[in-house]
């Protein structure tokens, strides 16, 4: 008998929950578009990819079950381009993320200090590249970075300096890509920092200044520690961004020269939609996900702890 009581109790709870849902039905209707879109375009493809990653499939026709072959493939010559793209992501991360994050922070502090007049105007100008089409910007950059007759090299020549093989050399091509990415994403990161800064009470900095700290000391010992979670957020997004760069690469370098700027996202896209190996691309997508997951955990572990 006791069992029956429990069952009816849960039934009662369920009925109550259902009543709650019905009562708030309009709220659910209003938030449903996101969930419907997320389920169909976000969640289902992710689940389907697991299934795909164990199959050989060209996008049409029958699927062939291949077990773990799509994963073991990565640990031989076939995985060369994939690991090169992971390596590129790490290199690009160290090349632009520290500089971009620091610049974003400095600009945010300057704009927050109210020392600058018309700071909304500057904020808009710095943020504008973020809303610009990256394809258009990348194409413009590629014209400006041309070795012969490009704006950048013309300028260097005017100063009496030799031209730079911006897109013709492994390292310079990476520098070029970092220039474009920093230009495009600086404003976005600055706005995040600015939002973070506005939550820090001004009294803390003021008190430090009265106690004799210099503005630079106040910046390093008060602002940065208090801003740590915001900086961490911005750096984690940039980490994922480094491996996930797509439009920037397609428009500027196409991944060359010699795959020096091939990012993981571009590589996976090529495998799926260029080579029609959807199973292999799905497997690489999951390995990529696992690696990003580990990188993010490490960052949270080492930079996210409270002191």
């Amino acid at each position: 008998m006791a069992r029956g009581v429990v069952v009816s109790a849960t039934n009662g709870k369920r009925r109550e929950l259902w009543r709650e849902i019905v009562r708030h039905r309009w709220a659910y209707v209003f938030i449903s578009p996101f969930y419907i879109l997320f389920l169909s375009f976000g969640f289902l493809p992710v689940i389907f990819s697991i299934y795909l990653s164990f199959h050989k499939w060209k996008g049409l026709g029958p699927m062939e079950f291949v077990g773990l072959k799509n994963f073991t493939y990565l640990f031989d010559i076939g995985g060369k381009a994939f690991w090169q793209s992971i390596q590129n992501g790490i290199i690009l991360f160290f090349m632009y993320v520290p500089i971009m994050t620091f610049l974003a922070l400095v600009l945010a502090v300057i704009l927050n200090s109210k020392l600058v007049r018309f700071f909304q105007g500057y904020r808009t100008m710095i943020f504008a590249p973020y809303v610009t089409s990256m394809i258009a910007a990348g194409f413009t950059f590629s014209l400006m970075l041309q070795q012969k007759g490009g704006l950048f090299n013309n300028f260097l020549n005017m100063l009496g300096l030799p031209g730079v093989p911006w897109l013709e050399d492994i390292w310079w091509a990476r520098v070029s890509l970092c220039l474009l990415v920093t230009w495009g994403w600086l404003g976005y990161n600055m706005v995040i920092m600015l939002a973070g800064l506005q939550t820090i009470p001004r009294e803390l900095t003021d008190a430090a200044l009265i106690d004799g700290a210099s503005p630079v000391q106040a910046f390093f010992y008060i602002t940065i520690p208090l801003l740590r979670p915001v900086i961490l957020f911005s750096v984690i997004l940039s980490t994922m961004g480094s491996f996930g760069l797509f439009n920037e690469v397609q428009a500027l370098t196409g991944g060359g020269p010699m795959r020096a700027t091939l990012t993981t996202m571009v590589h996976i896209y090529n495998v799926a939609f260029g080579n029609f190996r959807f199973g292999r691309a799905s497997a690489q997508g999951y390995v990529y996900f696992a690696l990003i997951f580990v990188f993010t955990l490490l960052q949270l572990r080492y930079f996210g702890r409270e002191e």
Binding site: K58, G59, L60, G61, K69, Y73, D76, I77, G78, K80, A81, L143, Q146, Q147, K148, G149, P165, L167, E168, D169, G254, G256, P257, M258, R259, N270, F273, G274, N275, F276, R277
Partner: protein, 469 residues
């Protein structure tokens, strides 16, 4: 589980099965239609069923409706439309509306396979470059045109059908070929003391060795580069042309075996490497501003020659180098070995009809009208120089005319002659993107001195072999 449950399940499965079978029924609208014909023979009424193809249908049964066409502006707007082909088509088929949607070739490569794999969103007729054609033919989702092509099959240049075919069936209607010739600057050749007459140029530069010598002369005498061949971002088009002329490629077209690291392929790359070693070629990347500037230049630095397909003709005249009219000549490309083929292919295009089309009759009517008739292909050739794939069209007077851009030379006959001699080669194919991608990286590594030709191509071949599995 109760019996009732099992019964339910079984019933559901049977219903689902029936739905599945019904859904997989035969595809609608065969190429030919069966028409009932009644006639009176010796006083008796006989009813016969006769198969007729759409082309022979009486006026009232001409296909109707709307078709959507994807293609790039140079071919659709500047050629098909400019030649008035759409109006002519509508005069014959007044009830077919052609809606043109412009897609750059690179956009076709993104959108067509997506539409084919998604099962919807494809146009009724799509223009595709030969380089990527075979990938889509093997992907599936294109309409089998074998029966419709039958009357014209012997009239189409052989090599155009290689990439079109899978398991004995044809999935495309060829438009223009990519016969490769050597364009050269008469003024630079004259300044370098080389012959300027096309026949003499073809005789003097008969092999790639001769070409190397001529390039050295040009460099010494005029200081100009011979041609453009970028190192760090090379995407192997010239390499492919030199392989193709030898009947070589990335794979053996008969066995499918990967030949990227064959001794011949390695030797070919090393041969091209000599031009880099001796600093005879410009580093400008094809299809970028510095390259256009060197092609259009009236004084140094000039690119003195250009090994490229005949479709380059219209691009040079119309927008790359219109100011260089009268300064160019067209010779045969050098043979790899003495006496070898002086013909190769680069690019070219075809029309395909995706299986998804709701109106295959109208789509085929359009393709047949535009590409299956001498009159249409010649009018388009006259406008843009896209050399037709219909052999019957080569007898036209257009192929005898001189061209002022080439100092009065009759270049069309050279294009047609080369087009008929292009050998079979395994360059384009069902895995072209993958092969071209790996080999391009190999060429870049070799050109920039990171690896020897052999090391680089071995690695590319290993990568391709692993990738094909």
């Amino acid at each position: 589980m109760s019996h009732k449950h099992i019964l339910y399940k079984m019933t559901t499965m049977i219903i689902l099965g029936v739905i599945a079978i019904t859904a997989c029924g035969p595809a609608a609208t065969p190429a030919a239609e069966v028409v009932e014909v009644t006639r009176i023979v010796e006083g008796e009424t006989i009813t016969e069923y006769v198969e007729v193809t759409p082309a022979t249908l009486p006026e009232a049964e001409k296909p109707t409706g709307k078709i959507v066409l994807w293609g790039w502006t140079a071919a659709i707007r500047d050629t098909i439309e400019a030649a008035g082909i759409i109006e002519d088509f509508n005069a014959e088929y007044p009830d077919i509306e052609v809606e043109i949607q412009y897609y750059a070739p690179s956009d076709v490569y993104i959108n067509l396979p997506l539409a084919l794999t998604a099962g919807e969103g494809a146009p009724d007729v799509c223009l595709v470059e030969n380089s990527h054609l075979s990938e889509y033919v093997h992907l599936g989702g294109l309409l089998d045109l074998t029966d419709m092509l039958q009357p014209n099959l012997d009239n189409i240049v052989e090599y155009k059908m290689f990439d079109c075919e899978k398991d004995g069936k044809y999935y495309c209607m060829p438009w223009d070929g990519g016969p490769v010739v050597m364009y050269y600057r008469r003024d630079v050749f004259e300044a370098a003391g080389l012959p300027t007459d096309p026949t003499e140029v073809s005789a003097t530069i008969a092999t790639w060795d001769d070409y190397l010598t001529a390039c050295q002369t040009i460099k010494e005498e005029t200081g100009n580069y011979c041609f453009a061949h970028n190192k760090a971002n090379n995407y192997s088009r010239l390499y492919e042309m030199v392989l193709w002329q030898q009947g070589l490629g990335y794979y053996d077209p008969d066995t499918g075996e990967v030949t990227v690291d064959s001794a011949e392929n390695i030797a070919t790359l090393e041969m091209l490497g000599q031009f880099w070693e001796e600093d005879l070629v410009s580093d400008s990347l094809e299809w970028t501003d510095p390259w256009y500037a060197e092609l259009a230049a009236l004084e140094s630095p000039i690119i003195a020659t250009l090994i490229e397909a005949s479709w380059m003709d219209i691009f040079m005249k119309s927008w790359i180098a219109p100011g260089t009219g009268g300064k160019w000549g067209v010779a045969y490309m050098p043979a790899y070995n003495e006496g070898g083929a002086r013909a190769s292919n680069d690019g070219g295009s075809v029309f395909v009809i995706p299986e998804q089309t709701k109106n295959p009759d109208a789509a085929w009517a359009f393709v047949e009208f535009v590409l299956g008739r001498d009159r249409s292909v010649l009018r388009m050739f006259a406008i843009s120089g896209f050399i037709p794939s219909l052999k019957s069209s080569y007898d036209d007077a257009l192929f005898l005319a001189g061209d002022s851009f080439f100092a009065g030379q009759n270049v069309n006959s050279v294009y047609a002659d080369v087009n008929a001699k292009i050998p079979r080669a395994g360059v384009y194919g069902p895995n072209y993107s993958m092969m071209n991608g790996s080999v391009s990286v190999a060429i870049q590594l070799y050109a920039t001195g990171e690896m020897t030709a052999e090391e680089a191509l071995r690695e590319a071949a290993a990568e391709i072999r692993a990738g094909l599995e």
